[in-house]
Symmetry: C2
């Protein structure tokens, strides 16, 4: 074993912003999103008070402004799962090493990344305990005890928890961290058909979270055998292509088949009294999704949040001058009455006296608040307010009496606009290619190559070797193909598949 | 270091019930709550499908039937915290050893119970990482970065998470486990007064969760210096006295004073521009509360759940005989229409054909469902239903048309009755004593001794040495005392204090 210092975030080269002090000093983002994404991203999430780096590299603090987004998404997913018949539970975090070893592919996939608990107080454990990198093995040990007959099926449980995977790659907050939060669903069915149907049902729920809440369009499809989950028969995934030219996996559902049932001796008596192995799935969705949303919509001024998940949907900034106290009072009164009227909406009134309106505009733009309402002396005179959209910067002046109806309409417009913009980017980024050289050019231009593929591991591996790009996934609904494999192997193409540089 | 085998639940002597198989075999509880509480409790929580033992001693599975109770309580607490201005966040679980050592009392209190992460993959960490036994040290490292001026205060954060404390005492599910779930609030104020007020505000919220949701009465008060949280100025607690004659701590709020601020160098500039140390609190409420509720209300038939947290509040059991198919159809029709009508209530219709009504009665009694509705052929004839209370066993026959209004009334009655019964038990269990010998007798009878105390550590220690009982807490509102200390030390009594055997 090699001794290895526990690096702090800074030692590990993570981008710590000095003086991020509640985002109040060095307010602005000093890097352009394009072409300096790798500078821009850590600045935005720190200055907008989404994260703080912790003392252990790869383990970050999720601050309230980001955590509240997670709560919105959790609440949506949790409702959908419950509607579908899934129940929540909680399983122990510490897994004996022997459990991880029970499923051969699984242990190969996860062991290099496991953080091990070896001591308590001054006492050594005889067997190392893994901090869960995923919970198949600990959950299925219990499932074995609970499943006896077809009447116990389906068993569909979910847990919300933290996960630790000690990846060697450079940590990036949200997108790739060593500790993260997620939900993991683990379900057991009597038949393969039911299990397969659930991998689609849940993937659709994940897709709705991305598309309807985060305003992020996804590519739905099947992973190749090379890229599937360790221990699965197949993996379905959502892939997102980010404006920095990198793809990332957004959520996955795995058909585990009977692999784990056999490894953990889970059996049931069917209606005819015959012993059978059941069919299992697992599926997960994590805090990574927050980072994807930030990367997708943010701009050079900071975050741009979709209204459905924005902790603050509207900020009201009174424009106040020190020499007009009676006018100020009336402006504040109006601001308060508008806040009160917008009661179904998450509104913040920024009454802070120590900051100028200009400072506040920048501050709330950095925080990505979808709409800003300005009320100044002239607006007061005309009984108007000004509304400014964060996504387009477009300003409009409207009568106070129209406030509620206009705000509701604009919030819906911002949500749609962010999705449509992202969808256009995705469509423009996908380029068909017929040959390896065309594929290389597309990858070099930071786009997604969409190619006909024979289905062989070798042709897939060639892309990784020669370009560094990985396969994303394979469309569920395939067109009829007449061409040969992009790779020049001479075989007939069987499926269209996406390749891109990715996280 | 002593090698120590990772014991399985069974090896550690935990009470595993064989064949707990979904509670469907060996249905009944085979131990009496009194006097066999230590047999009864593990049987109830397993057979009612609340928990499953995991492979690592002290780390248990929280099954959906118990987890859903936790979700109800979480939702109540979370709403109350948010109303009070607290925000949720998430901090890393792994804490460098050097952090734990920064506050002297704190490290002494927690180090013996810490589970240490020492390796990832095949690589040793240079510094051991603690799995959080509580998060003061990791959170305050960030707080230091965020707090600069009085304008940044108060800072009031909470996190819902898992905790690991490798206690040496015999683990008991919920009541004392090595991994558990909780929330921990960590707040920072400019003044001591604000901090002190919050320790009461939050304790009151905890008390409401116990009294209004779990129907469990509490003793509110101040811990002695001997029993306070490691690193705190003082600890306020809720103490619950369980029917097995043991007290247990139900929730605590700690005034940390400026101890951690000094250890972690957290300072702020006050309105006059002077550098000050802020005042801090921490407070926590855990899944232990579920076990307390089970112990309080359960009986020889199984769980008895207070309606407000019962996952199923009403179960409808159709009484069906195999020789009357057309009657059966009508009974099921009526059962379904009643279920539909009770839409604001959590109702389950037990349509299972493979079990007799008698089996179902036992099954749902074991599960503690507050009300059972029976519908048989005779009820159908009279257009009546039978309602049976789980808490008293009292049956009544009412017209179908009164179902909703009666069910709502009875659920409220069950909730009240459980609380009142528990409250009476508590009142009957508290016995005043004036001397150590009287105190001993009270403790020997498994009751709570309420005694005048001089406030000295020695007199408190004497009780522990001679009886094994610990002090619970000191009433906030003290009567005027004229007697001397119970202990015979000759000093004047200053406070009334509770002593009892406890977890």
């Amino acid at each position: 074993m090699v001794a290895n210092k526990t690096k702090t975030a800074k030692q590990a080269g993570e981008k710590t912003v000095e003086g991020s002090n509640n985002g109040k000093s060095e307010l602005g983002i000093t890097a352009k999103k394009d072409p300096d994404f790798s500078e821009w991203y850590p600045q935005v999430i720190q200055k907008a008070e989404m994260i703080e780096y912790g003392p252990v590299s790869g383990c970050m603090v999720i601050r309230p402004y980001a955590y509240s987004i997670w709560e919105s998404v959790q609440s949506f997913l949790d409702n959908q799962f419950k509607k579908s018949g899934v129940q929540n539970a909680y399983f122990p975090m510490l897994i004996p090493e022997s459990f991880l070893k029970k499923e051969q592919e699984h242990v190969k996939g996860f062991t290099p990344e496991v953080a091990w608990v070896t001591e308590h107080g001054d006492t050594k454990f005889e067997e190392r305990l893994a901090i869960r990198p995923t919970s198949e093995t600990i959950m299925y040990d219990s499932y074995k005890k609970w499943i006896r007959s077809y009447r116990d099926l389906p068993l569909r449980l979910n847990q919300w928890c933290n996960i630790v995977r000690w990846e060697f790659k450079h940590p990036v907050p949200f997108l790739r961290t060593r500790e993260f939060l997620w939900q993991e669903g683990h379900t057991v069915f009597a038949t393969k058909e039911e299990a397969m149907a659930e991998t689609i049902e849940i993937l659709d729920i994940y897709a709705r979270a991305f598309e309807e809440l985060y305003a992020v369009p996804v590519l739905k499809g099947r992973k190749t055998d090379t890229e599937k989950f360790a221990g699965a028969v197949y993996t379905n995934s959502l892939e997102i292509f980010m404006p920095n030219g990198r793809a990332i996996q957004g959520g996955t559902t795995h058909l585990l088949g009977q692999n784990f049932a056999k490894a953990f001796d889970i059996t049931f008596l069917d209606k005819d009294g015959k012993k059978q192995y059941p069919w299992q799935n697992s599926w997960g969705f994590s805090t990574r999704s927050i980072g994807i949303m930030v990367a997708m919509h943010g701009d050079d001024k900071g975050l741009v949040l979709p209204p459905r998940i924005a902790p603050i949907q509207v900020v009201i900034v009174p424009i106040i001058f020190s020499n007009t106290p009676t006018v100020n009072e009336k402006i504040l009164e109006l601001a308060k009455s508008i806040k009160k009227e917008l009661k179904t909406i998450r509104v913040e009134l920024d009454e802070r006296e120590e900051y100028s309106p200009g400072f506040k505009f920048n501050y709330w733009e950095l925080k990505g608040v979808p709409l800003r309402i300005e009320i100044g002396p002239k607006d007061l005179e005309k009984n108007n307010i000004v509304i400014v959209r964060r996504d387009t910067g477009v300003k409009e002046s409207i009568p106070v009496s129209d406030a509620t109806i206009r705000v509701i309409k604009l919030l819906a417009d911002v949500q749609d606009n962010l999705y449509n913009k992202a969808k256009k980017l995705l469509n423009d980024s996908i380029v068909k290619a017929g040959s390896l050289s065309e594929l290389k050019e597309i990858i070099d231009h930071g786009k997604v190559a969409f190619v006909p593929w024979c289905g062989s591991d070798e042709c897939e591996a060639k892309v990784k070797d020669e370009t560094g790009a990985k396969s994303l996934n394979i469309l569920f609904n395939q067109p009829e193909l007449k061409s040969n494999c992009f790779c020049g192997c001479g075989r007939k193409a069987e499926k269209m598949i996406y390749f891109a540089k990715s996280y």
